[in-house]
């Protein structure tokens, strides 16, 4: 049998069940009519496509779509909604699905729409494969956009100090775990504090960027550091935790105490017409980084200079 994309269907009506047997040549299908089962499946082991029947419960369908679309790992999961002709006229802004299909539509058409949704998703992703966050193209585009529109936002560069010794001690797999956890902390804090106005991107390795309204940036930095420090002990072995630091041998064979990985955040407010090009922003940021990295532990530094 040929390889099939995974499709999850949350629906109840008879015709969808018939549709399922029509689609099963093309897709590997999981079917459920219980929303809670769908949530568990989708969050724990996401499919490549999701088809939801609105008539099952319109309020639930809306809640699910919003929750899935807001989740970092699921932003690239295409969701298609089955709607009835009568329900077609709606505010799609508030129900951000990728496409819809009409109830009892031609099965061939539905199949094509599903396949097309998969293709579209591949074109739009410059996401970092490790964290699912937008990558460099999106980051640069977003910063330039903010500059051009003269928005009152701050661009913050985040990285992890002592990340290499951590990797040396526990291996890359655990380093990747920390990066994924940090990505989630960043996007959750930004989502909570700035709603739609926040942006998080992953440059690569342990380098991240976030953008938020200038008046919120201090609060956001504090919250990120606080949550990072709270999560960190879960990734450190009990015996190291007990001791409070790592022990490593230098090339000269000397024993060294190495602190646990901490966060450095360098914040550059754009302040109207201060910059013309995104390159200037990162230049200022690397100056700040030197200062903030010289301090012990997790720290942030906001550029307060006028020009």
């Amino acid at each position: 049998m040929k390889w099939r994309n995974k499709l999850f269907i949350l629906a109840r009506s008879e015709w969808v069940k018939e549709l399922t047997s029509f689609l099963k040549d093309e897709f590997f299908i999981e079917f459920s009519d219980i929303p809670e089962k769908a949530v568990e499946k989708v969050l724990n082991n996401p499919p490549e496509l999701l088809l939801i029947e609105e008539a099952l419960s319109p309020e639930m369908a809306k809640n699910l779509v919003l929750a899935f679309k807001k989740d970092l790992h699921l932003t690239f999961l295409p969701i298609l909604l089955i709607v009835s002709q009568q329900e077609l006229n709606k505010d799609w802004e508030k129900l951000p699905v990728d496409d819809f299909v009409l109830e009892k539509a031609n099965p061939e058409e539905i199949k094509s729409r599903l396949k097309l949704a998969l293709v579209r998703v591949k074109c739009s992703a410059d996401a970092n494969p490790l964290t699912g966050l937008p990558g460099n193209t999106s980051i640069l585009r977003t910063i330039q956009e903010k500059i051009d529109r003269k928005e009152k936002v701050a661009v913050a560069y985040v990285d992890i100090d002592q990340f290499k010794p951590f990797n040396d001690r526990y291996g890359f797999a655990r380093g990747d775990e920390i990066l994924r956890a940090l990505a989630r902390i960043l996007s959750n804090v930004l989502g909570l504090k700035c709603r739609e106005e926040g942006f998080v991107g992953h440059i690569g390795g342990d380098d991240f960027v976030f953008i938020c309204p200038e008046d919120l940036v201090e609060e956001v930095c504090q919250e990120i550091i606080e949550e990072y420090e709270r999560i960190l002990p879960n990734f450190i072995d009990p015996e190291d935790l007990e001791r409070g630091y790592f022990i490593a041998r230098t090339r000269q064979g000397k024993i060294e105490k190495i602190p646990f990985p901490s966060l450095s955040i360098a914040v550059v407010p754009l302040r109207g017409g201060r910059f013309k090009h995104y390159g200037e922003v990162s230049a200022v940021a690397s100056e700040l980084k030197k200062i903030v990295k010289a301090k012990k532990g997790s720290n942030y530094l906001i550029d307060r200079r006028k020009n």
């Binding site: 809670e36 949530v39 724990n44 929750a67 775990e177 959750n188 909570l192 949550e227 879960n234």
Partner: protein
């Protein structure tokens, strides 16, 4: 492995979600709908329910998120999952269609054990008492599974407890050849929970079997006894479980420690009794 155990294992694999108590889900739904409520408030309420706590931890530790077996407290889980995911988990939580007095009793027992475990962990200066509290809350999750997935077997066990006047655990061993600790272990591993939670769940009646988290396991063992002794809630039989020698040696509690612990525990229990009363009233 016995046929029965294979069957139970298979059932656990396909277990989608355990039901929980309606009033707690009701309260949570209210809390979450309120824009002013904070992640800490939501975490505190989720930590009052072993099923929801299990559900949240299962999710954050699933391979999909990329840090399996790492996270052992609800507050950490909320930071990583985000408010939206937790919200969705709560609004889709399944509840008992009919709730029996026994369900509430087991729930009270778990809450009490969590509180006692937290006090002990603080007293003994463990690095993260919150984790041990969570282990206490989840320690009888195997009994929840028996209750919801294997009601027939549970009836047999309960009957044996009454007829022979033996411990719930002894009755389990007679009928199943293993106990709720083993069911809990299978489930906790299935859910990818960290070992620091799995060991206390698995071995709270057999502390000598714990390998890495002996102290945590001994604490949950003793917390279980403390709650049984004051008669808050019920773990399935009316008796206090026997004190495990090994656990007592690990804990090295002095008489002074105990004198300090008892009033603190009493105070916690008053708090908990108020809370469970509120829950009962909401149900009535």
């Amino acid at each position: 492995m016995s046929e029965l155990k294979k069957q139970i294992k298979k059932r656990l694999k396909n277990l989608q979600s355990l039901p929980t108590l309606p009033p707690i889900v009701g309260q949570l739904t209210k809390l979450i709908a309120d824009e002013r409520s904070t992640a800490q408030q939501v975490a505190a309420l989720i930590e009052k329910d072993q099923v929801l706590t299990g559900k949240v931890l299962k999710m954050v530790n699933s391979a999909f998120y990329g840090f399996p077996r790492r996270i052992s407290t609800v507050s950490n889980a909320i930071v990583l999952l985000g408010f939206n995911v937790v919200r969705t988990l709560v609004i889709t939580a399944s509840i008992f269609e009919t709730m029996q007095a026994q369900d509430l009793k087991l729930w009270e027992h778990s809450l009490g054990t969590a509180a006692a475990a937290g006090l002990l962990a603080t007293k003994l200066e463990l690095k993260n008492p919150e984790e041990v509290t969570t282990a206490g809350l989840l320690h009888d999750i195997g009994k929840v599974v028996l209750r919801t997935e294997f009601p027939e077997i549970l009836k047999q066990i309960e009957k044996t407890v009454q007829e022979k006047g033996i411990y719930f655990r002894e009755a389990e061993q007679e009928i199943l050849d293993f106990d709720h600790g083993e069911i809990g272990r299978l489930l906790a591993n299935q859910w990818n929970l960290p070992e620091r939670l799995v060991e206390p769940i698995a071995y709270h009646h057999a502390v000598e079997k714990a390998r890495k988290f002996k102290k945590e396991t001994a604490i949950v063992h003793f917390a279980d006894i403390m709650v049984r002794a004051v008669g808050y809630g019920s773990g399935g039989d009316p008796w206090v479980p026997p004190l495990n020698d090994k656990a007592w040696k690990i804990l090295r509690l002095t008489e002074e420690d105990i004198f300090e612990l008892i009033p603190a525990f009493d105070e916690k229990l008053i708090e908990l009794r108020l809370f469970t009363l509120e829950m009962q009233n909401e149900m009535a």
